[in-house]
């Protein structure tokens, strides 16, 4: 890839971070270049070429840049560096290690190494001399925070190779030569634990990408119970500001049953990333007992960091996800917010004076979003093992209007829709996921249905459908009550409404800040849903509509106390007992 003679050029125009460079040789679309500004070198990416002129987006502030400054083209696209030691790191959108940067303020032109080159890793070979391998094949394994980090044949290598040399078990740095492979023509290539990959290209080293079929437990009831996401599935969370997108994503990233969690903080608040830096080293992953930070990678390109790097950040995150998926791991990738990425595209497209699409977004927005979501998925690797990337993005619709281009484009690409409703957030019904508009397309997949029936229970799907019906009927009853008045409808309307409120308060609403309520394992979700549905199925006698609400408020109160208690603890059982008493008293 590296060119013998690097193409160079000189700056001839500057508008904010869009810079026009007159070049003296061949360049490629999306090629990286460095522009010299006194002692600093500013990284930039080619985004358009017109004749001798390359339009580059600079990943930094261009303050003080002058025409005539020299640009040097690098002969490669924007790449990430892949190898052991990525877990628990805090990167910016270009994979610079933020902890390695000096000083309080980010310095322009400071690029830091994503990996630790000194650290020695305990390497165990998997292949032996003479084995035939291809890109993505596992050469050996190191222990990275207790994850089996596979060292692979670089994804860029095309064709089949024979292992000529492989080091024996021992401690090596990432740059140590660990293998030599020979191609069909007898050429040798030395391999280390490090490889590079261009972020905008999907890593394709797998055999097959079937439809996702396994539930990915998140501990969030209104997802797992009502609209589950799958391992390798895609989902999005649109919602006006303050409705709980970030809190929901953080909850999922703490609780979900994943091996690796990648959080792309894309153009949102720095303090929200600080929250992760601060809390994840303290919080335990209940499944492994290890600290959450050990399985987490943070890509922080917050709203005040350069806009072009914001656009890159989601790709950086996805590529790192694909790398870990190729090791046969379950990756969960979260991006907050994909709208900021779309806005970065818009800012650039406007500066390029491209013909704008709806709301001045670029015309190909929809294609760009679909293409990105399509990189998620469940895969069978060439060695028969499986891996997955589950992707959940938030969307921040302008003015809270879901008919805007980013939401509409994402709806076409993502299979789960978790719409947050302003009304629910206003009345503090968190998580504010609208139970009626939201959906999971995976529930329609026969393979997912089968998986749920086997793993959760035979009647599970029926119960879920029933809960949804009750919610819908409750909404209709409420509308009638609002039109006709409390005593203008039969008492049964009140009962229908309050049964839906019961599901709402007990199953849907979940306090993300309560230690116990925050995360509900599937077994407990199943128990609570059938308990709630028992109440829904019971018939009660009420003489007045006011009795309905006061009865259900008491029922809800006991249920909530159960939600706040350790599952099956004495306290839990005590409230369950009180609840049963209540129900008996009111029973027909």
């Amino acid at each position: 890839m590296e060119k013998e003679n690097k193409t160079t050029g000189k700056v001839v125009g500057i508008v904010s971070n869009l810079v026009m460079v007159e070049v003296n040789g061949p360049i490629a679309q999306n090629e990286i270049c460095y522009i010299s500004l006194e002692k600093e070198r500013l990284m930039a990416e080619v985004i358009k070429v017109v004749g001798k002129h390359a339009y580059v987006q600079v990943f930094e502030s261009t303050r003080g840049l002058k025409p005539g400054s020299v640009a040097e083209f690098q002969g490669h696209l924007l790449e990430v560096t892949l190898g052991p030691g990525i877990l628990s790191r805090n990167y910016d959108g270009l994979q610079n290690d933020l902890d390695k940067m000096e000083g309080i303020f980010l310095k322009r032109g400071e690029y830091t190494d994503p990996l630790n080159r000194e650290k020695k890793w305990e390497f165990k070979p998997i292949v032996k001399v003479g084995d035939e391998v291809q890109a993505g094949a596992w050469l050996g394994e190191v222990n990275e925070n207790d994850q089996p980090h596979k060292v692979m044949v670089p994804f860029k290598m095309k064709g089949t190779f024979k292992i000529k040399e492989i080091v024996s078990e021992g401690e090596y740095t990432v740059d140590h030569k660990i293998a030599v492979v020979t191609d069909d023509d007898g050429n040798d290539t030395d391999l280390t634990m490090v490889q590079k990959w261009p972020v905008k290209v999907a890593i394709g080293s797998y055999k097959e990408k079937p439809r996702p079929f396994k539930l990915l437990e998140t501990g969030v009831r209104c997802m797992d119970t009502l609209n589950p996401i799958t391992e390798g599935g895609t989902g999005f969370i649109p919602g006006p500001f303050g409705t709980g997108k970030t809190v929901l994503q953080h909850a999922i990233s703490k609780q979900a049953e994943a091996d690796i969690v990648i959080i792309a903080a894309c153009g949102e608040r720095a303090n929200e990333v600080v929250e992760i830096f601060t809390e994840f080293p303290e919080l335990e992953d209940p499944r492994t007992g290890k600290k959450l930070i050990e399985r987490t990678i943070i890509i922080a390109n917050t709203s005040n960091m350069p806009v072009a790097a914001r656009e890159a950040s989601v790709y950086t995150a996805m590529t790192i996800g694909e790398y870990y998926r190729a090791m046969g791991l379950k990756v969960l990738l979260m991006a907050d917010s994909t709208s900021r990425w779309a806005q970065a595209l818009r800012e650039m497209s406007n500066r390029l004076e491209e013909l704008p699409g709806p709301d001045a977004f670029p015309m190909d927005l929809s294609a760009v979003i679909s293409n990105f979501y399509s990189r998620a998925g469940f895969v069978y690797l060439n060695n028969g093992k499986t891996g997955s990337i589950t992707f959940i993005g938030t969307v921040s619709p302008a003015g809270g209007n879901l008919k805007e281009p980013v939401t509409e484009s994402t709806r076409k690409a993502a299979r789960c829709f978790y719409g947050l409703s302003q009304a629910r957030a206003d009345s503090k019904r968190y998580p504010a996921i609208d139970p009626i508009d939201s959906y999971s397309k995976y529930l329609e997949y026969p393979e997912v249905q089968e998986n749920l029936e086997t793993n959760v229970g035979d009647s599970w799907l029926k119960e879920v459908t029933k809960a949804k019906d009750v919610l819908l009927r409750g909404k209709e009853a409420m509308e009638q009550i609002n039109i006709l008045g409390d005593d203008g409808v039969p008492i049964s309307f009140h009962e229908t409404f309050w049964k839906s409120e019961l599901i709402d308060f007990v199953i849907l609403q979940q306090d993300a800040f309560d230690k116990i309520d925050a995360s509900t394992p599937m077994k407990r979700q199943q128990y609570m849903l059938s308990k709630v549905l028992d109440v829904v199925d019971s018939s009660f006698v009420f003489s007045h509509f006011e009795d309905v609400s006061s009865f259900f408020k008491e029922v809800i109160n006991e249920f909530k106390q159960m939600n706040y208690s350790e599952f099956e603890s004495d306290k839990f059982k005590q409230h369950e007992g009180a609840l049963n008493e209540l129900l008996k008293k009111q029973a027909n």
Binding site: G64, F105, N304, R346, D359, D486, K553
Partner: protein, 439 residues
């Protein structure tokens, strides 16, 4: 910084629009400032040797042979302890008749803090206003605007909050401030004996609108000096950010950029985020807290300015007149402090989170009851009770003239609970009810 020994003077403008001029020049850096017939300007576009300058005062009366010289530096502010107690214009020049500031010259609009060098905010800011302290607790290092209609007393409330906040420095960034409001701030701070810890950068309605664009960066450069160099807690007041955004749109429209929603520039989100994200808590103790004002037109929060602001800031405080009690209240529904969970129930009493939530839920029930009433339906006994509760809650908690400590706020709320509701209706964790219920 470049040597300013020789300054080439250009005298041939090739293009003049309402906000910009273009001329041919070489050796010019992006973002650098220039003087055009004595008016301050900044480089906003370079194409070949065509340099486009934005003139902060506007281009009225600028001739094609205006004298243009480039200053080889971006806009700057001189910082030192001498800033305290002083008043400046948008360019950072004194307007109080006092001497020039001696100190270190710094570029404004400096880079962002590395996120890993921040500390999670954790110091509660007590204001005494229950609508804030109880329901929307503020934390130092937070950024939060008042969303208010132009006729609401937002500047008064902001001044009150500022004075009670116990900050080491208060920096006022006034944009499009009326002269009366400017004098109001000056007076209030003076009467409180706080002038020596106040620094003001003011663009009034009498000054050209585009100048406003410099005010937040000036204020925040001063803030960073005190927060980083002096480890002080700094409170920055920015009013009115809507007028700031309007100035952004004036410039971008005049530069023929494609406007996005509400004729705002497509970069509005990033432009505002660069300002608000300067709010920070440092591990060394210094902090910058930003309290801003975003005026609404007709209460519309879906307009691009409040909408983008809401996506950036850590909550928002809504002021609303409650006609039932005839007072301005902090609206508990649309107001939100996103950082409150870092302190409530931790630095405040354990029952704080649940009391807050239950009270707001009951207040929402009252709003439903009111709708019923308006639609001509009979009210239930519960409805009646929520309405009574809401009225008292509004008067003794939400009204902006309340000034008590948080424990008292909680006690008042428990009183109201016990007075109007049954325990199950309040639905608070049993152990708390046992401890705090007033029987």
């Amino acid at each position: 910084m470049e040597s300013q020994a020789f300054q080439k003077v250009y005298t041939k403008l090739t293009n003049i629009t309402k906000a910009t001029v273009t001329l041919k020049a070489d050796g010019v850096g992006y973002d650098e400032i220039a003087s055009v017939n004595g008016k301050l300007a900044q480089v906003v576009k370079i194409t070949g040797d065509d340099i486009t300058l934005q003139i902060f005062e506007g281009t009225e009366g600028i001739p094609t042979n205006a004298e243009v010289s480039f200053l080889g530096k971006p806009p700057q502010l001189t910082v030192s302890d001498e800033l305290a107690g002083r008043f400046f214009n948008a360019y950072g020049a004194p307007i109080d008749g006092g001497p020039e500031i001696q100190g270190e010259v710094r570029d404004i609009g400096s880079p962002s803090v590395n996120p890993v060098r921040r500390k999670q905010p954790s110091n509660l800011i007590a204001t005494g206003i229950a609508g804030i302290d109880l329901n929307n607790t503020l934390v130092s290092g937070q950024k939060i605007p008042f969303f208010a209609d132009p006729d609401q007393p937002y500047n008064q409330v902001m001044a009150m909050v500022a004075l009670r906040a116990k900050a080491d420095k208060i920096i006022l960034g006034g944009m499009g401030l009326t002269n009366d409001d400017y004098l109001y701030f000056k007076n209030v701070f003076d009467n409180a004996g706080a002038l020596d810890r106040i620094i003001s950068f003011v663009n009034t309605t009498e000054n050209p609108p585009v100048e406003r664009l410099l005010v937040p960066d000036m204020a925040l450069t001063a803030a960073e000096y005190f927060a980083v160099d002096k480890n002080e807690s700094v409170l920055v007041l920015l009013t009115d950010m809507t007028l700031y955004a309007d100035a952004l749109s004036i410039v971008s429209n005049r530069m023929d950029q494609i406007p996005s929603k509400d004729s705002m520039p497509g970069s509005l989100y990033s432009d505002l985020a660069k300002i608000y994200e300067k709010a920070v808590q440092f591990p060394s103790g210094g902090s910058i807290t930003i309290i801003a004002v975003t005026t609404l037109s007709g209460g519309d929060i879906t307009h691009a300015i409040p909408d983008n602001t809401g996506y950036i800031t850590e909550g928002q405080l809504f002021l609303r007149r409650d006609s039932d009690i005839g007072k301005v209240i902090v609206d508990p529904f649309r107001s939100l402090s996103r950082l409150k969970q870092l302190v409530i129930g931790k630095q405040t009493r354990e029952d704080h989170p649940q009391v807050m939530n239950s009270a707001i839920r009951l207040y929402a029930d009252a709003a439903n009851a009111r709708t019923k009433l308006e639609n001509g339906f009979d009210l239930t006994d519960y409805d009646e009770r929520t309405l009574k509760f809401a009225r008292e809650y509004s008067d003794s908690i939400l009204a902006i003239d309340v000034n008590v400590g948080t424990d008292t706020m909680l006690d008042i709320t428990w009183d109201l609970f016990s007075k109007h509701f049954k325990k199950a209706e309040v639905a608070i964790r049993e152990s708390l009810v046992e401890k705090y219920w007033k029987s």
